[in-house]
Symmetry: C2
Subunit: 268 residues, 2 copies
Amino acid sequence: MNDNKEPISPPIRFPIGIIGGTGGMGRWFAAFFEKEGHTVRVSGKDTGPRPAEMAAACPVVVVSVPIGVTQEVIRQVGPHMKKDSLLMDLTSLKAGPVRAMLASSPSEVIGLHPLFGPSVPSLGGQNIAICPARGETWLPRVRGILEGRGAKLVETTPERHDEIMAVVQVLNHLDTIAMGLAIRRGGIDHETLEAFSTPLFRGKRDMIARVFSNMDLHAEIITANPHAAKMIGLYRDVVDAVGRVAAGGDAVALAALMRTDDGPDETG
Amino acid sequence: MNDNKEPISPPIRFPIGIIGGTGGMGRWFAAFFEKEGHTVRVSGKDTGPRPAEMAAACPVVVVSVPIGVTQEVIRQVGPHMKKDSLLMDLTSLKAGPVRAMLASSPSEVIGLHPLFGPSVPSLGGQNIAICPARGETWLPRVRGILEGRGAKLVETTPERHDEIMAVVQVLNHLDTIAMGLAIRRGGIDHETLEAFSTPLFRGKRDMIARVFSNMDLHAEIITANPHAAKMIGLYRDVVDAVGRVAAGGDAVALAALMRTDDGPDETG
């Protein structure tokens, strides 16, 4: 018999406001937080509570709007946040949004980048980049909620995050977009490509479909990254090098390029 | 009670010789044909029966050697084939090998391109391109064996096959190789990329690993395709166009390119 009078402390629950909660990721996290027992308030462009109301009602406000308007929305809500509350964003870039949150709000600040899209069924095994920027009260709670459901949190600075995303997202999406457009220009119809596809080609076409199903988001992820120009240049140089060697028709030389390519100096 | 005296005709079984039966695909098909009840004889570069012996012993001979030596091996075995036997190849290109089989052998001839690698567990759902080139006795038997295990056969001419493969393989591998080399040049270490990877990036890295795990094969598939130069040029043009628009930093323009790109005239 348990006669311990001390109550077991329940998990801390709190109202969470999601600005942009009608978009893919906003909706995903609204559903997630609700399932975790938190009260969630959601606003879209023309719906739900306005910034001041949201900040007054929710100790945690999450900005989940398109990259292009993230900083503007942060500047609208930031000044209304209380010192002991938390302002977070879910944008695919971190330097600009975190700077804007620090500048416009007196609250605690965390930049978050869930490294997955709204089609994943759960947090289990998914990566989330986290950039703690101000305050220590909310950080362990946020970590607890996300890691409690199996997310792998990786802590970094906003600047380093964007540098890594220049490879993980800018390069990757550029490459996928180029292949998508090249297939179109290749002039073989869809049914024929289906009938002749290999497992690798099927996989690539699935990726292309996912990137092209949300063109605005992926175009923003590429163009808004501060390292985009460098990565685009690097990618063009690589395609140039690979293309030149491949066009030479020498399989041994092409395999050698794959084996030994270490940078522009070796191959350019 | 079944008193029908006529015996149910058993499936036709015959000895099959696989030249290059020690490589990945050769081994895969050797195991497959054996499981189907056929006697399989296998030869490698310096092992097993020589071409004349193979042709004498097996009514069906399959050439499954690297692209670069396929036509040479075909010219060695072709003249020893009997008129009522079948010569096939499994090469990723079809125009050259089929021409070589027709020229060097009096036998029936079929070009086959299994559109998968030796890692698939079965034929179920896999595509196989088939180019019937001479004779009608063996074609239904080969079709029966492969389709009986769930393969989707798609019949075409050797020339059309190679044209389609310029997209399905040349473009696709070029794109994958470029991304692999660009990641290396990007300078972010493997562990960091793992920790920050998205599902799309993980998928791309799996593809890169598969293409780079067999560099010689993939380099040959690219360089030996008769349409390679055209496709490499097309790919470089696309990367140039995408890179130029992306470097402009205008997400709307990049999304518009993804939406409307129909060919070099519209974007170049």
